[in-house]
């Protein structure tokens, strides 16, 4: 059987707390929570039947839980995405290309040959020639699929395209990734 603490007034601890609450009605949620915490920390305290468990739902009602959840979720989202936004902004500042320069490091596997030719202002046929593949039937195929189709190494394919652009546009500088 659980021990029940008896107060100096001869009442159980739970009954004493209920009496105190009736005498001081309308205390804020903060002070009630404070009473809970202080009661919890009180030296020599024993959890009697119905002390914390009966007051707990009144202190943290579903509505209060919703508010607490919103505050915690909002704080987590703000901190996580705020930090990420700061890092992205710093990377963007580092990757600013000088005017007139084109970044050959920006070539990606989803790009098609006509797009690369247009974006870097180089002849499309020269790019196909650099890979040693025909342009027919391959114009709308992204670089990654071209490499798969012809059994080429994707990294080497990208490198060959970059070299072809640098050869065809000598003014272009390879821009290192930050």
């Amino acid at each position: 059987m659980r021990p029940v603490e008896i107060s100096p007034t001869g009442k159980t601890h739970a009954a004493q707390l209920r009496l105190e609450r009736r005498r001081r009605p309308g205390r804020s949620i903060g002070s009630r929570a404070g009473v809970c915490v202080l009661d919890w920390l009180r030296p020599g305290r024993r959890i009697g039947k119905g002390t914390m468990m009966r007051r707990f739902p009144r202190t943290l009602s579903p509505y209060n839980l919703l508010i607490a959840g919103l505050l915690v979720l909002g704080l987590v989202l703000t901190v996580v995405f705020g930090g990420r936004a700061l890092r992205n902004y710093q990377r963007l500042q580092l990757q600013k290309n000088p005017p007139g320069m084109v970044d050959v490091e920006a070539i990606r596997g989803w790009m098609t040959m006509p797009y690369i030719a247009q974006a870097y202002d180089v002849p499309e046929d020269e790019l196909f020639a650099a890979l040693g593949i025909p342009s027919e039937g391959n114009r709308n195929v992204p670089l990654r699929r071209l490499a798969e189709r012809y059994g080429l190494d994707p990294a080497l394919t990208r490198q060959q395209i970059q070299q072809a652009i640098l050869r065809l546009r000598p003014a272009t500088t390879p821009w290192a990734e930050p």
Partner: protein, 203 residues
């Protein structure tokens, strides 16, 4: 970048603004597609001369508004399937009246700023019988700002649009976090005030 995003980018390069419009319509309906990233990329493609500025902007706007209207229609239909005790309740009517008063701003803001909440707002507008003409007018305004803002950024930062897309995504999450935090704060203050008002002795 995910394989889906890469496929969509290739589709925009190959099929042009039509692929962009279709993707934006599906994203506006609530499908998890990278709509803002595609608008940024489209801006960069326009700057590089791959896409035409006029037709891209028009089709992107048309596609997004089509998707938003679809969301509105879903809300209208969905409301009919809900039990009558919910839709005729005082809470539901109060929420609908409040949306009727403030919904315009919610529609505009969720089109370009709090974009993750856009599809839900369209559905709420439909289910609360918000006037379709007004919905379309606010939708047009919000989507115009979105396309001009992100398309313009993609056009300006054509060589670094991928990084810009990451930044836009992070800023969107940050804004959402701030809104959730503010909402929680407002509710907490209101609850506290209500308790204090109840606690005051009646004269």
């Amino acid at each position: 970048m995910s394989e889906l995003t890469e496929t969509l980018l290739t589709a925009v390069l190959v099929y042009g603004p039509l692929a962009l419009a279709l993707t934006l319509a599906l994203a506006a309906l609530g499908l998890p597609l990278p709509a803002t990233l595609l608008v940024l990329a489209a801006g960069a493609f326009v700057q590089q001369g791959v896409l035409d500025a006029g037709s891209t902007a028009l089709l992107a706007l048309g596609g997004t508004m089509l998707g938003d209207s679809g969301g509105y229609g879903l809300g209208r239909l969905g409301e009919r399937w809900l039990p009558g005790r919910i839709t005729s309740s005082a809470t539901w009517r109060r929420a609908a009246a409040r949306f009727s008063d403030w919904g315009g701003w919610a529609i505009v803001i969720t089109r370009f700023l709090l974009t993750p909440l856009g599809p839900a707002t369209s559905i709420i507008a439909g289910s609360s019988h918000y006037a379709f003409g007004r919905f379309l007018a606010f939708d047009l305004l919000g989507e115009l700002i979105w396309i001009a803002l992100f398309g313009g950024l993609g056009y300006s930062f054509a060589t670094s649009w991928e990084l810009l897309s990451d930044l836009a995504s992070s800023l969107s999450g940050l804004l959402l976090g701030i809104v959730v935090l503010l909402l929680g704060g407002v509710l907490a203050v209101r609850t506290r005030r209500a308790r204090q008002a109840r606690a005051r002795p009646q004269l």
